[in-house]
Each structure stands twice: as structure tokens, then as C-alpha cells.
Symmetry: C2
Subunit: 151 residues, 2 copies
DNA sequence: TTGTACTCGGATAAAATTGTCTTATTTTGG
DNA sequence: CCAAAATAAGACAATTTTATCCGAGTACAA
């Protein structure tokens, strides 16, 4: 489990990155995603549903159905995925957990954390999914694709 | 719950900061800490025990017992507290959750995350508890002390 | 010495997160 | 039309995190 995101969120990111490696009109089934990404089937299904409801993915029922990006990958940021799954706590919560921490009543780390947080935000919001996907040199699921020959 | 730390860790930080506001030879009871910081009694007790075992705190049993810093506050960093409670995942885990992510097999965010991570590390490791405590302008528990008059 | 106020540590409960199962519904192709 | 393969969705189980309880030990003071 990473520190910043929930596991759901990690799975969501991995799935979207995988979808971004395919043509937008191509459907990818949950089965394929879970097999390649090693994610529990029904857990991922729920995550994909959530992303669909938030408008990030498009789903198609029935034979030869599956999921695809609802928008071009050049138009989706990591931050959108995170916000869709984990909400916007990362940008709002006090790093020390003081509920009353705010601009007018800051904790001891408030200003410094703001800087680090903005750096993370830039990291997550300024890079689109297609850039990220193209930079994936050889994560596990890419090698898998190369081995089987069939995405 | 903050994003970066577990709740245990937040409580630990708050408690240590509170202790740092008192003379090092002065004992503070769990009861006082939980009352002022609004933390569940037995939960905090366990956290303080953990910090004691890690050598950050000193505990004194018996009547008029309590907890105090094991070292001068000028000698303790936030990062030590976090490491003691949450371990060192923050500095080691892949931000996207890929288990195989490493220098030689990096994920798409690896290098950029390293920069942000180091910024967070500087934030947590370069500032000592006494500096932090002195910067606490008026978090909840400080106003409480001022109101009751008795720390 | 004895009572009291405290920590210690194990057991347990509650809540949140993660993972599993089962049934329905939708779509396509034969 | 019907069977196969896919998503949709609710119920349930396991795990992890958070919180509570209780008996025991310890040190001080009257």
C-alpha cells in the first residue's frame, strides 16, 4: 500500500494507465485487466464502476463489451482519478491531523506543507495519462503484454 | 485522517509536541494528554508505549508518574516519530503501488516522486520538535492550557 | 503498611477497508 | 430466439485499523 493513496486508488490508476495504452475505441474486459494487473476481480469491477459514474470511463455491457476511456488520454490527469476515488482530502487536510488547522489558525507545519503539497499537486495534475502511459518503460503488465502478444 | 500518516501517527506527533512544551523533567499523565488532545485514552496509551520502546519517550510508573521526552526536544525530529509508528514506507514505497518499482525498473512517476518525497523528508527531518512546538501559535490544546491555566 | 494514582500489556470490540460470492441485466452472435 | 460473455449491484467475509476494557504491577504519600 502506498502512503498517499488508498489501494483502491492505486488499482484505479493502474487500470486507467492500462486502458490508455490501447486505442480509445477498443474495449478492455475486467477479466483481462485483473489478469494482467493482478487485482481482485470484483474489487476492480467496483472501482471501474466508480470511475464510470464519475465520467472518466465508458462501459459497454454484453458480449465483447468492456471498458474504455471516456475521453482522450491526453485529456485526463492522475489528479482526476485520485479525486474520483479518494476525494480531495490530499489538498485539504492538515498534515498533522488538526481539524481546526487553517490559514487563520495554522499548525506548525502549515506553510511548509503547503509548498510540498503543491509540488505533489503539480506532479499529479500537470501530466496527462497518455504521457504517463508512454513513459511506462516496463512495468509488470507491459512485459506481460509483450510476452503473450495479445493485449 | 490525514493522507500521509496513519491516525496513530498523528496522535503520536500531537502528544510529543505537547510534551515538548513542558520541561523535560516534568511528567505528563496519559489522562492529561487524552483530555487536552481529545484522543481515546487506551489508544494513546498504546502509542505512548510504542514510542517509549523506541526510545523516544521515558515512562514513569506509579503515583505522580507519566511520560516525558527521553531526549531534549532539540534532538528529536518529526521523521523519527513517523518512522517509529508508521515505519519507513513513505521513503520506500512506489507512489503508484507497483511492488517492482525501483531505480532499475521505475514507474512513470518514479523520478518526479523522488523529488517531492525528498521535499517532504526535508520538511519532516530538518525541523526539531522544539522548533515546531514553539511555532504552534494556537492549536486547540494550547488555548486549552491558557484557559485552564494548568498544563 | 496501605491506599491511591499511575503505567503496562493482553484480550476484546467496533469500524473501515479490502476482497469474495451470487444473482441479475445487457448485448452480441449463431 | 437462445446461449454465451460481459457489466451491475447487493450481500457477505476477511483483514486491517482504530478504539475499549480489564487485571496486574509500580511508586509515592499519608
Amino acid at each position: 500500500m502506498s502512503i498517499i493513496f488508498s489501494r483502491q486508488c492505486e488499482y484505479a490508476i493502474q487500470a486507467v494507465l492500462y486502458l490508455a495504452l490501447h486505442p480509445q475505441n477498443e474495449k478492455t474486459s475486467i477479466r483481462e485487466l485483473t489478469k494482467v494487473l493482478k487485482i481482485p476481480y470484483h474489487f476492480l469491477a467496483k472501482i471501474l464502476q466508480k470511475l464510470t459514474h464519475k465520467g472518466l470511463l465508458h462501459s459497454q455491457k454484453g458480449l465483447a463489451g468492456g471498458f474504455s476511456l471516456a475521453r482522450p488520454a491526453a485529456n485526463i490527469t492522475l489528479f482526476e482519478i485520485i479525486e474520483a476515488i479518494d476525494g480531495n482530502g490530499l489538498m485539504h487536510n492538515c498534515i498533522l491531523g488538526f481539524p481546526e488547522c487553517s490559514e487563520s489558525d495554522p499548525c506548525a507545519l502549515h506553510d511548509q506543507w503547503l509548498k510540498s503539497r503543491d509540488g505533489i499537486y503539480q506532479l499529479l495534475a500537470n501530466d496527462t495519462i497518455n504521457h504517463l502511459a508512454s513513459r511506462m518503460k516496463k512495468p509488470q503488465y507491459l512485459t506481460e503484454i509483450l510476452q503473450t502478444g495479445c493485449p
